[in-house]
Structures are given as C-alpha cells and as structure tokens.
C-alpha cells in the first residue's frame, strides 16, 4: 500500500466528515434562508471539501486516474458508518447490500 493511496484515503475521509458537518447544519432550524448557509458548520464543511480536493490532487501525483473513483466510493461506506455513529441513522440490510453493489459496480467499471 503506497503513500499516495493513503493520501487519497485521507482525502475521502476529510470529504466524508465534511458531509457530517453539512448534515449537522441541515438538521437545525434557522430563522432565515441565509443562516442555513452562513453558519460555522457549512463554512467549515465546505472548507474541508476544498482541503479534500487539494489532497486528491496531491494523491494523483503518484496514482493512476482509474483508481481514484474506486477509492472514492469507499466514501459511501464511511458516510454510511459515520451517519449511523453520529446521527443514529439505521444500518439496514438494504443500505448495506446496495452500497456493496455500488462498490462492486465501481470496481467492475474502472479495473
């Protein structure tokens, strides 16, 4: 396992955590439309997405393009797990089977 792969994995992790922050903001009720967007969760969340994009570029210096989307789809597994952990979203059989099916599709498509 090389360091570029780990860098890409870090990028996917940062992107997944940023989705948690966005969701955290979306779960609240705001008294104006603008506050739905101009709040610390959303601002830090999108800041993290930019960081993730930067990490992706660094990772691609030592990785084939075709491997990118496959590693990126590990993000679906991370978000599935993290939203169960932090928001109590149920880990249902359908979500798990569906996500595995998506992962398999990505592998078939790109490898």
């Amino acid at each position: 396992m090389n360091q570029y792969f780990l860098l890409y994995l870090l990028s996917v992790t940062v992107a997944s955590v940023s989705q948690l922050l966005l969701k955290k903001s979306a779960m609240k009720t705001y008294d104006s439309f603008w506050k739905e967007y101009l709040n610390p969760y959303v601002i830090v969340g999108y800041g993290m997405l930019f960081l993730s994009m930067f990490l992706t570029v660094l990772a691609f210096r030592g990785m084939d393009y075709k491997n990118g989307p496959v590693i990126e789809s590990l993000g679906y597994v991370m978000v599935l797990f993290l939203s169960w952990l932090f928001f109590g979203e149920k880990l249902t059989k359908k979500k798990i089977v569906g996500t595995c099916c998506i992962l398999l599709g990505m592998i078939v498509f790109y490898l």
């Binding site: 969701k23 705001y30 569906g98 996500t99 595995c100 099916c101 998506i102 992962l103 599709g105 498509f109």
Partner: protein, 139 residues
Amino acid sequence: MRFIGSAEPVGNFEIAEEAEMKQKITVKDILFLQLVIIIYTCSSIAAKFAAAESLLSFRFCLFYGIEIMILGIYAVLWQQIIKRFELSVAYANRAMVLVWSMLWAVIIFHNEMTAQNLSGVALVIAGTVIVNLDTREEA
C-alpha cells in the same frame, strides 16, 4: 419549530441530539435528488469544455466560470437535499454520478463504452435503487 443561533461551537457532535424526523420520502424527492446530482455532473462537462481552450483565454474563463457557478448552485441545493434525506441515503445516490457522466461521455463527447463499463453502470444503478428502496419501506 425552534430557532438556533449560529454561535454554537463547531464539531460538537452530541449523538442524535435531534433524532432524525422520519419524513416520507416520495418518488418526487428521489427525482429531485437525482436532478441535483445531474447538475453536479454538468460541472465536469464545463470543465471538459474549458480544458479544450487555451489557458486564461476568454472561452476558458467562460467555461471555468460556468463550472464554478454550477458547483455553487449544487452546493445550495445539496443542503436542501440533506435536510430531507438521511445522509447515508443521499450520499449513496452520488454514485449515480458515474451513470450520468457516462451518458454525457457518450452523447456529448462520443466516447466508446465497453461491455465491462456497461456492467459496472448496471451494478451502480442496481445498488442505488436498493438503497433508495430503504426509504420507501420506512414511509
């Protein structure tokens, strides 16, 4: 309905402090989610058009500007999506980016698809449908 100021510290993840309201997800919601994902894939079409122009030419800046604009619209809409959907379901739907991008690749850029590509696309569609069926059961 309660109003919460924006002064709360970032990163304070009380576990399910506000338990997810189980709202009915309709077919219309899923179509809206897919529309937002289609809008997202349009940003890469603009990027591809920008890539064909010489750096910082007028047409390059135009397409690059369009790409940024599309990403901005997507960001605004995505926030509305995750208000309605469970994060795990909404995020899994992003896998459909592969399917829509392939469609553009064939229609707009005349790229060739192999049988292996098509099998991958079929599996991704099947997986997304299975995840989305989950919301139907709860409803």
